[in-house]
Symmetry: C2
Subunit: 198 residues, 2 copies
């Protein structure tokens, strides 16, 4: 059977979403077809609104509706500590911990020489400008703990340390609830190196 | 952190889709934020288009853009065999088999007395009208093989048989690629009852 062209188009567009295969696209399409028009259109409107109204925060390059993102605009955040992340999507998990009360800086990627991503392609100059302009005492380098992330962190540490600003990394170690038995050697090694007094 | 209101709204709407939890909604939202506006808006437009242009086929109650769905409108389909299904979403899997060349009739549910769904809530009168009007030799009852589906099939069979129309059901049995060892007794029992000569 050929699906009606507009249904086929919806299926195609849904399948472009990350993590959505043909079966989930079909399930979603039938939900959209079956549901109240007003309800389904709220999703269409929400997509339109973020594409029309959301841009980058002028200070930290997180997603923002106003000039500044909600975090930079908040008076409750400590501007002296900047957490550097690779992408805006890395901010919500950190916020959920409720442990960090500083502000952010979004690089827009990580150094990846093999894919042609050099320092000039990331918002490193903007970070250095903030360090000159703002009163910053600590920079937390929260890139993913993989090769590109570690390389980027090492590169940034070399740039920032001479300014007399404290540079830190989130600890590597055993995930809470994880099994020592199944930990890889690198993680377990880091956990032992970073052991803490009880 | 509070996400920007329009991003939060998008997350809420994405989470309403079937099979989408908070994490997948976040992944999709960041994809939408990160992607080209034109590309993201194609999804919004596709939703609008189906809600504006898709309604029920006048004959079989499948989803359709014109008066008739693509299957009813096709001259290649055999109108003498009607496959009765519960929902439009049951049609694509049957079509994918390429084994069935008849037409469909969508009931819009199954009999479920406990939930207050009686014969009057399904498109049974419309099915009987088609059997009177169209030249039908066989009705295939392809409801899900569960209690409500079987009850609905039994109810329809009692209505249709007196008209002298052949009534059939897809075979129950072992799924292809399945394990005899793990088959439940009802399925294996049906497979044995329905055994075929080789």
């Amino acid at each position: 059977m050929q699906a009606a062209p507009s249904i086929q188009k919806l299926l195609d567009e849904l399948e472009r979403l990350p993590g959505v295969g043909p079966k989930s696209a079909q399930r979603m399409a039938y939900w959209i077809l079956n549901t109240d028009a007003a309800e389904a259109l709220r999703l269409a409107d929400a997509i339109r609104e973020v594409k029309a109204g959301v841009h980058f925060c002028a200070r930290c390059f997180n997603y923002a509706e106003g000039d500044l993102c909600e975090i930079c605009a908040s008076s409750k955040r400590d501007g002296a500590v900047i957490c550097v992340v690779s992408e805006p999507r890395d901010i919500p998990p950190i916020e959920r911990t409720a442990v960090f009360n500083g502000v952010y800086h979004v690089l827009g990627g990580v150094l990846a020489p093999m894919e042609g991503v050099g320092p000039g392609d990331l918002r490193i100059a903007e970070l250095m400008a903030r360090l000159g302009r703002e009163d910053v005492t600590e920079v937390v380098l929260a890139m993913n703990p993989n090769i590109e992330g570690e390389t980027t962190a090492a590169y940034l540490a070399r740039l920032i340390k001479p300014l007399g600003v404290k540079v830190t990394r989130p600890a590597s170690g055993l995930p809470v609830g994880g099994d020592l038995e199944f930990a890889d050697e690198v993680t377990l090694g880091r956990a032992l190196e970073g052991r803490l007094p009880l």
